[in-house]
Amino acid sequence: MSLVEYLKSSNFSAVTEVETLHEEVTLCVDKSGWHDFANILKTDPKLSFDVLIDVCGVDYLHYGLTEWATNEVTFTGYSRARTELPDTIEEPRFASVYHFLSTEHNLRLRVKVMLESNDLSIASVNDIWPVANWFEREAYDLFGIVYEGHPDLRRILTDYGFIGHPLRKDFPLVGEVEIGYDAAKEACVYHPVDIQPRVVVPKVVRSDARYNEAGDSNE
C-alpha cells in the first residue's frame, strides 16, 4: 500500500487534505491536532518518520499577485508599470511547513499547518524530534511563529536586538534600520535606512500554455 493510500484510508482526524504533486506527498494538518498527529508520524510502524528534515515558515500575503500592470500602462514606460502589491490579508496568512524522512521506508512527506495572523502559536515538536529546536527558532525569528512548548525560543539568525520578522512579505527588502558610527556619541547607532527600495525586475504571473491542460493563454 502506498503512502497516500495508507494516509487516506486511515482517516486521521487531524489531516484535512492529502495532495500529491511532482511525486511528493503534502498533508494539510489542522493546528489543534498537530502535536498528537506528529506523534503518530513518528511511532506508527507504517509511517515511522524518524528524521525531521526541515521546519520553515511561509507567508502567503502576496501569493499569486502580480506587480506588472502591463495591460494598462504598456505605452507609458517601464518603471511606471510597476504597481505596489496590496497588503490585503487573506486568512490563513501563514503556514508552518515540515519535511519528514523515513529512513526505514525511504519515504518523504511534507506537512503543512496553516496559521491565522491573529494567533500565530503552534505546538512545538521539539520533544519528538530534537532537531526541531533550531529550525523552530529560525521560523520564529524570520516569521514570528510562536512554537508553544519550545524550551528556548530565541532569535537565531538576525542581529542582537533586532526588531521585526524579516522574511514576512511586508518587511522591506532593504530593511528598516542601518547601523553607522556616530562621531558625536562615539558609538555605533541605528538609524532608518536611507536607500530607496528598488525593483529591478517586476514580479509577473504568466499563464504559460505549457502548464494548463487546455493549452490556452489568458493574454
Binding site: 511532482h22 511528493e24 528524521v51 520553515c56 524530534w129
Partner: protein
C-alpha cells in the same frame, strides 16, 4: 571552594578554529564543558529574501555563495528543483558533466575539510598538501566556467557550455623559468577531460599520503577516537545527514537510495563508520575521497566516448546559441525575454534534496506562477549538525570542542544563509 559553580568562556566569533564566524558561549567547570550555546547568524545575508526578489536564473549565483566550499553542489540542488517544476530533463551528457563536477566538488570540499580539521588539531603540513590537490580542481572550475569559485555553471536544462577543448597553461614569468613552467604544464597539453583523467590517476596515491600522516598517528587518534560519539538512533533524531550520519553507522546516501541524475549508472560504494566518533567521521570522508575519484573516472570515460548537446533547446528555459540569435528572430526574442523577465514556473511546490558533500542539502521552492520564487527555503545540513553542538560537547574537555566542531565540517555560508 564548595560553592564553585564554574565560569563562562566566549569563543569566537573571530577565531581561526571557529570555521568562519561562530560564537560559542561555553559554560565550563575547570576544563570540562558543561554546556554550549552557539550563536549563529553573523554571516546571515538573507539569501532566501533576496531570491524572492529576483528571476529564477539570477539566484543561481547566490547558491554558489551558500556553502562556498562546495559551490556546484549547491547550484545542482537548486537547478534540479527548478527542473522538477518545469518538468524538463537535461541531456545525458549534461547530466554526466554535472555528476562529474558534483564529485569533483565533493573532493574539493573534503580536501578543505581535511586540511582545516588537521590544522585545528595541530597538523600544519596537511593543510598545504590538501591545497596542492585542491588547486587542480579549482583550475578545472576556472577552465569550464571562467571562475575559480562561484561558477554558475549548472543551469536549468543543462550546463551553460560544453567542456573546453584545451586547458589554460602557466606562462613563464619572473618567478617561474621556462623549465619550471614546462613541468607545471605537463598534464595540461590535452583537453579538460585529459587533465581530469590525469588527476584521477594521481589522486589515490595522494590520499594514501594523507592517510600515512594521520590514520595510524598516535596523536591523531588520541585527539579523535571516542570524541563526540553519537549513536545511530540519536544521529537520526538530531537530523544528521551525509558523512555525519554514515559515521554513526547508518548506510544512508541519497545518491543510492533516492538517486538523481545518472548516479544509478555509476559504480561506487558507501563507506560507513561503526562508533560514531570524530575518528570514524574522518575515515568515512577519506573513503569518500576515493569513491568520488572512482565516479569521476567513470564519468570521464563516458564523456570522452559520447559527445552531444549539453543543454536542452527549449528557448523558454535555456538560452539560444549566439549563432541562432544572429539570424533567427524567434531566438532573439527568447534570449531577450529570458534575460529580462525570466521564465515562469507553474504554481506548486517542490522539495529537492541532493547528497551534498556535507550532508542533505535541500531546496524547498514555492511558486505562485510568477517569474520569481514565492519562497525558497534552503535546508542546510550544517545547520542541523551545529544544533547538536551542545549535546555532543557536553562532558568533553575544551580542546575537544574544536575537534568536534571541525569534524562536523561547518561552513557558515550555508548555516547562516
Amino acid at each position: 571552594m564548595s560553592d564553585y559553580q564554574g565560569y563562562t568562556i566566549n569563543f569566537g566569533p573571530q577565531h581561526p578554529a571557529a570555521h568562519g564566524v561562530l560564537r560559542l558561549i561555553m559554560n565550563m567547570k575547570g576544563e570540562t564543558v558543561q554546556g554550549i550555546d552557539p550563536h549563529i547568524g553573523l554571516l546571515h545575508r538573507a539569501t532566501e529574501k533576496l531570491a524572492e526578489s529576483k528571476p529564477y536564473i539570477q539566484s543561481i549565483g547566490y547558491m554558489d555563495r551558500l556553502d562556498y566550499m562546495s559551490m556546484m553542489a549547491n547550484e545542482h540542488a537548486y537547478v534540479l528543483a527548478l527542473e522538477k517544476m518545469l518538468e524538463v530533463e537535461a541531456p545525458l551528457r549534461a547530466q554526466y558533466i554535472r555528476v562529474m563536477f558534483s564529485e569533483m566538488t565533493r573532493i574539493m570540499n573534503h580536501l578543505l575539510w581535511l586540511g582545516a580539521h588537521a590544522l585545528d588539531l595541530g597538523a600544519m603540513s596537511l593543510f598545504l598538501y590538501c591545497f596542492r590537490e585542491r588547486e587542480d580542481l579549482v583550475d578545472c572550475y576556472e577552465a569550464v566556467s571562467g571562475s575559480r569559485m562561484h561558477a554558475t555553471y549548472i543551469r536549468p536544462g543543462g550546463v551553460i557550455r560544453d567542456l573546453p577543448k584545451s586547458m589554460p597553461k602557466f606562462q613563464p614569468s619572473t618567478w617561474h623559468t621556462k623549465e619550471e613552467v614546462k613541468k607545471l604544464n605537463a598534464a595540461r597539453d590535452g583537453d579538460l577531460l585529459d587533465f581530469i583523467e590525469d588527476f584521477t590517476q594521481r589522486f589515490p596515491a595522494r590520499v594514501d599520503e594523507y592517510e600515512n600522516l594521520l590514520t595510524d598517528n598516535r596523536v591523531w587518534k588520541q585527539r579523535t577516537v571516542n570524541i563526540g560519539v553519537v549513536s545511530p538512533e540519536r544521529a537520526k533524531a538530531l537530523g544528521f545527514s551525509g558523512p555525519m550520519l554514515r559515521g554513526s553507522g547508518v548506510a544512508w546516501d541519497l545518491r543510492k537510495l533516492q538517486p538523481y541524475e545518472v548516479y544509478p549508472q555509476l559504480d561506487f560504494d558507501i563507506p560507513v563508520g561503526t562508533n560514531g566518533d570524530c575518528y570514524d567521521r574522518y575515515l568515512v570522508r577519506m573513503e569518500e575521497l576515493r569513491q568520488s575519484n572512482k565516479i569521476i573516472k567513470q564519468c570521464v570515460k563516458w564523456l570522452k566516448e559520447n559527445p552531444g548537446p549539453v543543454s536542452i533547446r527549449d528557448g523558454k528555459v535555456a538560452p539560444p546559441t549566439r549563432a541562432d540569435m544572429k539570424d533567427d528572430m524567434e531566438a532573439m526574442i527568447h534570449h531577450f525575454k529570458l534575460y529580462t523577465e525570466g521564465f515562469t514556473l507553474p504554481k506548486g511546490e517542490v522539495y529537492q534534496a541532493i547528497e551534498h558533500p556535507k550532508g542533505e542539502f535541500g531546496i524547498y521552492l514555492i511558486s505562485d506562477g510568477a517569474n520569481k520564487p514565492y519562497r525558497i527555503k534552503v535546508r542546510a545540513s550544517g545547520f542541523a549538525h551545529l544544533s547538536a553542538m551542545n549535546e555532543m560537547c557536553k562532558g568533553h574537555m575544551l580542546p575537544d570542542v574544536v575537534a568536534i566542531l571541525s569534524s562536523m565540517d561547518i561552513v557558515f555560508g550555508e548555516v547562516d544563509r
